[in-house]
Amino acid sequence: MSKILVIAELDGHALNPSTAKCVACATALDATEINVLILSDQCGEAAAAAAQITGVAKVLTVEAAHNSQPLAAVLAPQIAAAAADYDYVFGPSTTFGKDVMPRAAALLGVGQVSDIMAVSGPRSFQRPVYAGNAILAVEVPEGRKIVATVRTASWKEAAGGNSAPIEAIEPVADIPSHTRYVGLESHASERPDLQAAKKVISGGRGVGSAENFELVFKLADKIGAGVGASRAAVDAGYVPNDMQVGQTGKIIAPDLYMAFGISGAIQHLTGIKDAGTIVAINKDPEAPIFEIADIGLVGDLFEVIPELEAKL
């Protein structure tokens, strides 16, 4: 007899795929009811999408003007109120979930399990620590709500095909005015989203400049891949921050990951541990990335990329 509330993540008014991954994780528990909570100024589109996820019993919506942007300080008290009679509250381990879930947990007076990669029992989970260099099995003591974030790279989206009922709710919460949204600078592109892409091509410091990164983009477009980068490439200003892959960037699990001019620091490798096939191209035969690459090619990326583009 347990109920799980999954906090939906929205991109504008659309449902982010991380929500279906949280439902997949929730399904791994033996729950009697999995409900999805949507907080937005216009819930319709996301609610309709969430209703289709297999395993979802009900979609709950809180539609209000103050929910137009994902401000943790505004959302957390509503989440805490809505979560009152649930045993579990799950959110994605994306920047959205990382921001709001611990705030909700603290309001509920409990700790949080971050980054669930596997469920091993009703109160037992596996999570990565030390940048994924160790796996910690944790257990939450009886008698308290379990608030957790779900490591999205570890879970496949739950299938569609459902038609769960949608119900509007009005959790009673004080909405603070001390936090205000100003704006978002986004580099939305036509390329596949890094976190959902089946193929990802990444460039590192070895790419050398923003102009040279065009080579990486061209190759990606040729094979329909998303584009990522190392921290060094982002810090150097070659590409924007949202492209960073790794411990402090995005954790991804594409079928194919190709790294050009990336040395393979542990913080970068943390982000690609779950990739299907890792290909590394580096001019230094000693580069640590070759230790974990499935296919390695020692070579100059400025020669390899154009040739590869021509031959693929």
């Binding site: 991109d11 943790a72 300080a73 920047t95 990382k98 921001d99 611990p102 705030r103 909700a104 947990a105 603290a106 309001l107 409990v110 700790g111 949080q112 971050s114 990565p128 620590v129 030390y130 940048a131 260099n133 160790a134 796996i135 910690l136 099995a137 944790v138 939450v140 003591p141 603070p176 001390h178 936090t179 100003v182 704006g183 978002l184 600078e185 986004s186 580099h187 939305a188 976190q195 193929k199 924007p240 949202d242 402090t248 194919l256 913080q267 541990k273 299907g276 096939t277 890792i278 290909v279 070759f290 230790e291 974990i292 690459a293 499935d294 296919i295 390695g296 090619l297 070579g299 031959k311």
Partner: protein, 250 residues
């Protein structure tokens, strides 16, 4: 403003190769280099820059941990913090306990700004700042890559999955740092000498927090399933052939 509180955690240095203990009770820390959590070093740097720009009178660094943490507090003082507080405990401190403890310190010190790292690179929890802001009933600006003060408000640019989000918060507030907020200064030898004379107080954790039972029990530590070295190809043609064989490209 009057005071900035910076929370710093002592962690295994980010360059250390982590090894799980053979008995699965933790990772090897004996004889391993310990440092200030890299995000927290950035937090100290940001606080110092605010003070140096004339926008704050005092920077306090605080940590919760064993007496060994004095080392990291001294480093914070050498960087330029004015004084340090060690909240002493021999036990593991989880994020909710850290937040409750820092809340009690906040009630004592009344800072207008509290800066933490976005995550500790040992537990990788990414929770403490958010929990502290919730318990304090104040704004949180997490994953900050830019912080601008404007009277009793702060404008913070945040690194989010979609790009760079900007929010405005009323002070007092909690800010957590991302890597691109700044580049921390190096500590010079004379500063280390000077830091020895700066005040470092020690408070027992029991004076600030009551319920110290862990929220989440650590049961077992294991090494991750490692990836193994694959094949080395010698030309682009071989690479293309290998990719085709795996069905990864058309």
């Amino acid at each position: 403003m009057n005071k900035i509180l910076v929370c710093i955690k002592r962690v295994v240095d980010y360059n250390v190769r982590i090894r799980v203990k053979p008995d699965n009770t933790g990772v090897v820390t004996d004889g391993v280099k310990m440092s200030i959590n890299p995000f927290d070093e950035i937090a100290i740097e940001e606080a110092l820059r605010i003070r140096e720009a004339g926008n704050a009178a005092e920077v306090i660094v605080a940590t919760i941990g064993s007496s060994d943490c004095q080392q990291q507090l001294r480093t914070g003082l050498a960087m330029g913090a004015d004084r340090a507080t060690l909240i002493e405990t021999a036990d593991e401190v989880d994020p909710l306990l850290a937040a409750r403890t820092f809340l009690a310190l906040i009630e004592k010190e009344q800072p207008e700004l509290v800066i933490l790292g976005k995550q500790a690179i040992d537990d990788d929890c990414n929770q403490t700042g958010q929990m502290l802001a919730a318990l304090w009933g104040r704004p949180q600006a997490t994953f900050a890559s830019k912080l601008e003060l404007d009277g009793d408000k702060a404008r913070v640019t945040r690194e989010v999955d979609a790009g760079l989000e900007t929010i405005e918060v009323d002070l007092p507030a909690v800010v957590t740092t991302d890597l691109r907020l700044n580049e921390p200064r190096y500590v010079k030898l004379p500063d280390i000498m000077k830091a020895k004379k700066k005040p470092l107080e020690t408070i027992a954790i029991g004076e600030l927090a009551q319920d110290i039972a862990p929220q989440v029990n650590a049961v077992n530590w294991s090494a991750p399933a490692g990836r193994t070295k694959g094949v080395q190809v010698n030309s682009v043609d071989e690479l293309v052939a290998a990719l085709k064989e795996k069905g990864l490209v058309g």
